[in-house]
């Protein structure tokens, strides 16, 4: 009977694609060349000015004074309180998951020591994986101790204010203490490079058959769409891994990016991301009429991926509509995954939050591709 997927025919397509790829020197050069060129080019970071970044408050106590301080922080417009907790563990988790960019810690005897004139300090923990996202916010918070309590400390307490700031804020940059931009850019580059090469190469896979005239033969044979599509993307999984190794080697040994998470988890996440991009490519390939069109469509997908995924500009600094588009792109989720894994040492649970969107994306894309696959020459 008619099978949806025959392993023999699938293997026929995979073997053929491998042979063709091996004989195509230009493509091979591209696979190694593009990562190297991109790594060299993106030695700089692009800054912007994201506001209303999510902040969690971990308060061991609450008084009129601490409330005034929080209000003053929010008034800078760089911060937005999204969560209040009294547990250190919860606060840590929130930061590791990326649910908040900052956690402000208010210690238990803060108010008492403030009123005694001991000039206590608050601890602000920042998720500094993307230094560009936090730098302006951190600059703004430096003024807070001088001004926050100007109205609260009056009458007999005015003296506390006059002798300089009545309290201080310690800043703790988590995950990337030196604020090294490359820590953020280089893992991100892995995603950008994979997006670019995976989509570009597979978007040509079917259109090339149409243009060389070999599609007529292929369509006349009893091969199923799924066999062609899966068979054509399989070799590129290997290619993707080669690129990942090149970039990872550069990240670890040239840019000294830390690698805190598990290598196995990294390889799994990379696989899901590669698959997501390959299905985009193969879908473009089954929709496009010719190679030029396929390249245009690839570019059309590639641009928002670079601009709206949080690679170019901090994600939280983008307007709402851009964030909505960004959420639909695999690169956005991959960036969160890879930064979380390398810099924060994210475990399986935290990583899963960024990985399931990739799976969902792949399934939807593959369904579109299969629907649009042309079984005739019309």
């Amino acid at each position: 009977m008619v099978t949806l997927l025959s392993p023999i025919r699938l293997w026929a397509v995979v073997a053929k694609e491998f042979i063709q790829l091996r004989r195509d020197r230009l493509t091979f050069a591209m696979i190694i060349g593009i990562p190297l060129i991109q790594l060299a080019l993106f030695g700089f970071a692009i800054n912007s000015d994201p506001k209303e970044l999510p902040m969690a408050v971990r308060s061991a106590e609450s008084s009129a004074y601490t409330r005034s301080i929080i209000q003053a922080i929010v008034n800078t417009r760089y911060f937005n309180v999204t969560e209040i907790t009294d547990s250190e563990q919860t606060a840590n988790e929130i930061l590791a998951r990326g649910a908040a960019q900052f956690v402000i810690n208010i210690p238990a005897d803060f108010t008492r020591r403030l009123l005694r004139g001991e000039r206590p300090s608050l601890l602000l923990e920042a998720d500094a994986t993307d230094p560009a996202a936090t730098s302006n916010a951190l600059a703004a918070i430096k003024q807070i101790p001088n001004t926050a309590l100007a109205h609260d400390l009056n009458g007999p307490l005015a003296s506390l204010q006059s002798a300089g700031a009545p309290f201080s804020i310690d800043i703790h940059r988590r995950y990337n203490p030196e604020g090294v931009t490359q820590y953020n850019i280089v893992p991100g580059l892995m995603g950008v490079i994979l997006t670019m090469t995976m989509i570009m190469m597979t978007s040509l896979a079917i259109t090339r058959e149409h243009e060389r005239g070999t599609m007529e033969n292929l369509l006349a044979m009893p091969v199923q769409p799924l066999e062609v599509m899966v068979g054509k993307i399989t070799p590129y999984i290997l290619i993707g891994y080669i690129q990942v190794l090149v970039i990872l080697a550069a990240a670890l040994w040239v840019f000294h990016v830390p690698m805190l998470g598990s290598a196995l988890l990294l390889m799994l996440g990379v696989l899901l991301f590669i698959l997501a991009n390959l299905t985009v490519g193969i879908t473009i390939s089954s929709v496009a009429r010719n190679q030029a069109q396929a390249m245009q469509m690839s570019f059309f997908f590639f641009m928002p991926s670079i601009l709206l995924s949080g690679f170019m500009f901090p994600f939280r600094g983008m307007p709402q509509w851009a964030q909505v588009i960004g959420e639909a792109l695999p690169l956005t989720h991959f960036l969160r995954f890879i930064r979380g894994l390398l810099l924060k040492g994210n475990e399986w649970m935290a990583a899963w939050e960024h990985l399931w969107p990739l799976l969902a994306f792949t399934a939807v894309m593959m369904a579109i591709g299969l629907r649009r696959y042309r079984r005739t020459l019309d």
Binding site: K16, T214, T376, L377
Partner: protein
């Protein structure tokens, strides 16, 4: 012998296909029976390739219906594909794969048992054993053609759809090819073959002639000749070109075809033509001899009359 076996392998009715408003195939109806060697002829751009593609489900007809090997050509194309060997007009195997790799690919596509053996045999028959590692793109035109032919027969299909399989193939290979076709037909394989060669048309047991997307003639070579209404004379002359020029001025002469030192003169009005030619013979000192119309003359006649109908 074959004619008794009337199982219909291809049956299409009023099939039409146009590309962007331009009609390529116009209400074509065809029947091809088991064991037939069905020759498909027609001028360039007349719709042969389009018709063949419609038959194996590579194109969807705009109108009409058809069955091929008992399956509906629109709804059951994928069943048809398994039992059909289609040789495309333009070489469409992988130029960056070797001869052997191409054959192996095809063998896997059709789930051939004992793949290696089947490929080895095919290479032997082709006489390409020693060149099996050569890239298909580096083969000469004729060898590409022969490779494609072998590849499309690899899975022993019940129906062969061959689109100009011998264009660019040398005479000996062509003779081998036709011997093979006749052998397969004896075994019950049905062959539909498009060609521009008259000697090949004569080797078919049935012919169809298509012009401007219309099927304008169908039947055995003999019946096509008999039904054409053409009368033909042969004239030998040392200076055929001069004679030909003069002949063309005679009204009843519709076709003048030089062939070596001979001219074939044909027309539909046999009586008038005979009279005119005998007058011409006396004048010019040539000796016209009545002969059977050749297929070529018949086809040109068919093409011209369909042109007239069109305008």
């Amino acid at each position: 012998m074959r004619m008794n076996n009337r199982e219909e392998i291809i049956k299409v009715k009023d099939m039409s296909k146009s590309f962007g408003g331009k009609v390529a195939v116009d209400k074509v109806s065809l029947s091809v029976y088991k064991g037939d060697i069905f020759g498909f002829l027609g001028p360039n751009g007349s719709g042969k390739t389009t018709t063949i593609r419609l038959l194996c489900g590579l194109l969807t007809p705009d109108e009409g219906e058809g069955r091929c090997l008992g399956y509906d050509i629109i709804k059951e194309a994928r069943h048809i594909k398994r039992q059909v060997g289609y040789m495309t007009q333009r070489f469409s195997f992988y130029e960056d794969l070797s001869v052997r790799e191409n054959l192996e690919f095809v063998a896997r596509m059709y789930h051939l048992q004992e793949r290696r053996k089947a490929v080895d045999e095919a290479l032997d028959n082709l006489g390409m054993k020693s060149r099996q590692t050569q890239l298909a793109g580096e083969l000469s035109g004729g060898w590409k053609q022969r490779l494609a032919l072998t590849a499309c027969m690899l899975h022993k299909p019940k129906l062969l759809l061959l689109d100009e399989p011998t264009s660019g193939v040398d005479p000996e290979a062509r003779r081998d090819f036709w011997e093979e076709i006749h052998r397969l037909a004896d075994e019950g394989v049905t062959v539909l073959v498009s060609t521009h060669y008259m000697d090949e048309a004569e080797r078919c047991n049935r012919l169809a002639y298509i012009a401007y997307g219309h099927l304008v003639g169908e039947g055995s070579p003999q019946s096509l000749i008999a039904d054409s209404g053409l009368a033909t004379w042969r004239i030998e002359s040392a200076d055929i070109h001069q004679v030909a020029e003069k002949l063309k001025r005679i009204n009843a002469v519709e076709q003048v075809a030089p062939f070596g030192t001979r001219l074939f003169v044909s027309g539909t009005d046999a009586q008038q033509l005979e009279q005119d030619l005998s007058a011409f013979a006396e004048q010019e000192g040539v000796n016209p001899e009545r002969t059977q119309p050749r297929l070529e003359d018949v086809f040109i006649q068919l093409m011209r009359s369909s042109e007239e109908k069109r305008w």
